[in-house]
């Protein structure tokens, strides 16, 4: 159990690979998933002597779109910086990133509980190569090296594992809606890092330490890792122990975090402005007003619309917009036209009664109607209706008995009218002919 004695202080860093055609600073294809290792490289992304980076305008544009959607302030004068450190997957010995003047600062995201989560900054950088251990030897695949990577850094505003998960889902949803990345977590296109520490009182300043959990690739793992970490830190603090500042990894099998490296020796990235790329003037490169106007309807707006138009709950609206963008709304629209109870349709979508994405909105509605019908295949209700129709239409009964086939159709029509079309025609016909024998 999470101790009531402490208040979690959580910040998230979210990395998203942009699914642009080209890499961030060269012409190599950015889509690296499943490609033969080291087949999508060039002097730039291999860091060969004399190679120079040229920024990808499309990646810049997509970052601006996300920054605008997150209500960030855009730094019109922005530039790239070098983050210097050594690692085998970093071919140049530095990563081209943004430090002094990130592209966007001071944004926000609204959670369903109406908590406003502040975003510190959003910046653009390049991904590193992929490092794999094969037979205890490190192998490097540079296809991933130089893929455009956005980093979204939240303020330490989040107060629970649930909230952190929810925030990450919101960001994911926004990115998908904007279409700037496929953000497929299984492909590593979206990666989560959580910074967690505990304090006692809401008025306490930020704790002097933080524990960073790196490379989490699912929302559930994020949640579970944070829960574990809060418990671990609570136990330590309750026992009067000090928590060391460190980086930890997460093992989903054990639902536990483990120490990776201590941060006692502070990082020293020796940031300085990237001299190979001149400072960028975003107002000169892009029409920012046009970009603002080009933003699609954002998740928050769609959710609000669903709630007011269809009287859905926040929960229903959230899931439908997130998991069934566009098609969910279309289904609800047809339901409204066909006068089917909207809440039932919404629940049918959420409970996945049928595979909406596969069969489409029209068929989905038909299936729901059919299901409703099936309740009247025989059974007492249908029998009662049949008997009622016989009593109310003596003339048609007489005609039928005289051998007029058309009279049967008329009687079935009457049944359908009384059941609002929910009766199974075959069953109704059988009951009718049996009763008139």
């Amino acid at each position: 159990m999470i101790s009531k004695k402490f208040l979690p202080v959580i910040g998230l860093e979210i990395h998203i690979e942009l699914t642009t055609r080209r890499k961030m600073f060269c012409g190599c294809p950015a889509d690296h998933f499943g490609q033969k290792p080291n087949t999508q490289t060039c002097p730039v992304c291999l860091g060969l002597p004399g190679a120079l980076p040229v920024p990808n305008q499309e990646a810049l544009k997509r970052t601006i779109l996300l920054a605008l959607a997150l209500k960030c302030q855009i730094n019109h004068q922005t530039w790239f910086d070098r983050k210097n450190y050594f690692y085998p997957d970093l071919p140049k010995g530095y990563q081209i990133s943004q430090f002094f003047r990130p592209l966007g600062i001071g944004g926000q995201i609204n959670l369903d509980n109406n908590r406003l989560i502040k975003i510190k900054e959003i910046h653009l950088e390049e991904d590193t190569a992929k490092s794999i251990m094969v037979d205890k030897k490190r192998r490097l695949d540079f296809n991933k090296s130089g893929v455009p990577l956005i980093e979204i850094v939240s303020e330490p505003n989040l107060t629970s594992a649930q909230e952190a998960k929810h925030y990450a889902q919101k960001v994911h949803h926004l990115v998908k809606t904007l279409g700037i990345s496929s953000a497929d977590m299984e492909k590593g296109q979206m990666r989560l890092e959580a910074n967690i520490s505990l304090k006692k009182l809401p008025t306490d300043p930020l704790p002097k330490y933080k524990v960073e959990i790196k490379n989490i690739n699912s929302f559930r793992y994020l949640h579970d890792a944070i829960v574990f970490e809060i418990n671990r830190q609570s136990r330590l603090l309750s026992a009067g122990k000090k928590i060391i500042q460190e980086t930890r990894g997460y093992t989903p099998g054990k639902k536990a975090t483990y120490s990776q490296r201590s941060k006692e020796e502070a990082y020293e990235y020796r940031y300085f402005p990237e001299p190979d790329i001149p400072p960028l003037n975003l107002e000169q490169l892009f029409n920012l007003q046009e970009l603002q106007k080009s933003l699609p309807q954002l998740p928050e707006q769609i959710i609000n619309e669903l709630i007011t138009k269809y009287q859905l709950s926040q929960y229903q609206a959230d899931i439908i917009t997130r998991k069934y963008p566009i098609i969910g709304e279309k289904t609800l629209k047809i339901a409204l036209k066909e006068k089917i109870t909207i809440v039932d349709v919404a629940n049918a979508i959420i409970n996945q009664n049928y595979n909406l994405k596969k069969i489409g909105a029209q068929k989905f509605i038909e299936k729901i109607k059919l299901a409703a019908k099936k309740e009247l295949t025989g059974g007492q209700e249908l029998k009662t209706v049949v008997n009622q129709v016989i009593i109310e239409n003596p003339r048609a009964v007489k005609d039928y008995r005289a051998g007029k086939r058309a009279a049967l159709s008329f009687l079935i029509g009457q049944i359908q009218q009384k059941t609002n079309g929910r009766a199974d025609i075959k069953q109704a016909q059988k009951l009718l002919t049996d009763a008139l024998k």
Binding site: P49, E268, R270, F272, D276
Partner: protein, 470 residues
């Protein structure tokens, strides 16, 4: 037929012979191969020569024989050139004169060498330099120093010392070098040849092994002003591979003698002359006096003390060097970092220090602010004058070994070229006589950004003066 003892010519002179049918490209290349065979052991100028050169020359000859107008399309057709060994070449290894990259064969070509070969040039070979271009004497080369062709006990200057010595010793009619702060102009001065450092961003850095990225400038090293103009015209212009290249098209430089069409105001910065030696100053002032007679206005001007630039340049250059050399980890190519030479290690250490937390503001940031002041100082001065004239180097060539006596040898030696390098300004070194030891002395003309044409026109005029005197 060329006589083997004939002296080398400039590119344009060779081209005249090619057009007139007085020489073939094969003969010209053979002439230089013989020169190299005779002198390279002694001078240590070429690290590697091109074994395919005669085949390439024969191909050029074929084109020339078929099409006399071929030079219109390819102005350097069949003409051999020397290339500093920090330009990546796909047909020759590229080492930056370092053990780390010994035998390193780049898989791609620098824009500069690509443009030269597109223009028909044939690469004779790759020339020695200070390792990673760290130095001003070519003595930090991991493959031994180059010697000054004017006197074998003297250094050729650096870091492009191999290229300037090649031109001075007739081991190439012309060459390309690169300058971060002085690495074209200073060895050109010490070897008595012409070295043009264009405006920063005018010639692409793509494929040039980086020293300090915010300063590096490739440029031509030649026997004549016309050759410098010819090579510049082939090299200059925007390159989509290099985001720092100037986006507009460069003004073509006149490749025939063209002197200024009006009297110029030429500034002599007193702070520069205060630094340099008397014998150097006398030669430069003699040229100034002649220019005055020709109608130009000579004016004493004041610039920021150039010694301030030593600190600014050192900090910024070391910072960038420490980052630029980080990729030499031996994982993907070359040897590991245990093979770095002493000078590279010193620079990495100092650069790492000035970028470290707690020192960044104190050193790097302050140096950037000072750099802006230097830029503005030149801008202010150029509102009143056309061009600056000053010595290129404090002295004529120094003896080999002088480098060992001073950890900051290059930076103090290059004090007169550092401010203009920091400001990204174009400049040229021209020979202007000899000292008592018969060592060449060089002057430099510095101009405002993108004013290469103005510089070249005055250079043509000075070239005529010095030719007449000789």
């Amino acid at each position: 037929m060329i006589k083997l003892n004939e002296k080398g010519h400039s590119l344009i002179e060779w081209r005249k012979k090619l057009i007139a049918g007085q020489a073939s490209s094969r003969e010209i290349c053979q002439f230089y191969l013989n020169q190299i065979q005779k002198k390279n052991n002694q001078l240590n100028i070429y690290l590697v020569t091109n074994r395919q050169i005669l085949k390439e020359a024969a191909r050029a000859d074929q084109i020339i024989n078929h099409d006399k107008k071929a030079f219109k399309k390819q102005p350097l057709l069949g003409l051999p050139l020397a290339v500093k060994d920090n330009f990546c070449t796909t047909n020759l290894p590229t080492t930056a004169a370092s053990f780390i990259l010994e035998n390193y064969q780049p898989p791609y070509q620098s824009t500069a060498t690509q443009r030269l070969t597109n223009a028909g040039a044939i690469i004779l070979g790759k020339t020695n330099m200070d390792a990673w271009a760290h130095g001003s004497s070519t003595e930090t080369s991991d493959f031994g120093p180059t010697k000054n062709p004017h006197h074998l006990e003297y250094a050729p200057g650096g870091s492009s010392g191999g290229s300037t010595a090649a031109v001075a010793a007739d081991l190439a009619p012309a060459a390309i070098g690169s300058e971060t702060a002085g690495s074209i102009r200073q060895p050109a001065a010490w070897c008595g040849v012409i070295g043009l450092k264009p405006t920063y961003g005018r010639i692409s850095r793509w494929g040039v092994i980086a020293m300090a990225s915010s300063l590096d400038c490739p440029g031509p090293i030649t026997k004549t002003v016309a050759d410098a103009a010819l090579l510049y015209n082939c090299l200059a212009g925007p390159d989509y591979h290099d985001a720092t290249t100037i986006q507009n098209q460069p003004q073509k430089l006149p490749s025939k003698k063209t002197i200024p069409n009006r009297p110029l105001i030429i500034g002599l910065p007193k702070e520069y002359f205060n630094q340099s030696q008397q014998d150097v100053n006398q030669k430069v002032i003699a040229v100034a006096n002649q220019l005055k007679k020709l109608g130009h206005k000579i004016k004493e001007i004041s610039l920021l003390d150039p010694t301030l630039s030593i600190a600014v340049y050192t900090i910024l250059q070391r910072a960038e060097v420490s980052s630029n050399l980080a990729r030499y980890d031996g994982i993907r190519f070359g040897r590991d970092r245990s093979h770095f030479g002493l000078e590279a290690l010193r620079r990495i250490m100092l650069g790492t220090f000035v970028l470290s937390a707690g020192y960044f503001d104190q050193y790097y940031l302050k140096a950037q602010k000072a750099r802006t002041k230097i830029v503005k100082d030149f801008q202010k001065v150029f509102t009143n004058i056309d061009l600056i004239l000053s010595p290129t180097s404090l002295t004529a060539a120094l003896k080999l070994g002088a480098w060992n006596d001073n950890v900051m040898f290059g930076e103090t030696q290059d004090v007169l070229v550092e401010p203009s390098a920091l400001a990204g300004l174009p400049a040229i070194n021209l020979p202007c006589g000899f000292n008592k030891q018969k060592l060449p002395i060089g002057l430099q003309i510095i101009g405002p950004q993108q004013q290469e044409k103005k510089i070249i026109e005055l250079a043509y005029q000075i070239e005529t003066l010095t030719d007449e005197k000789n």
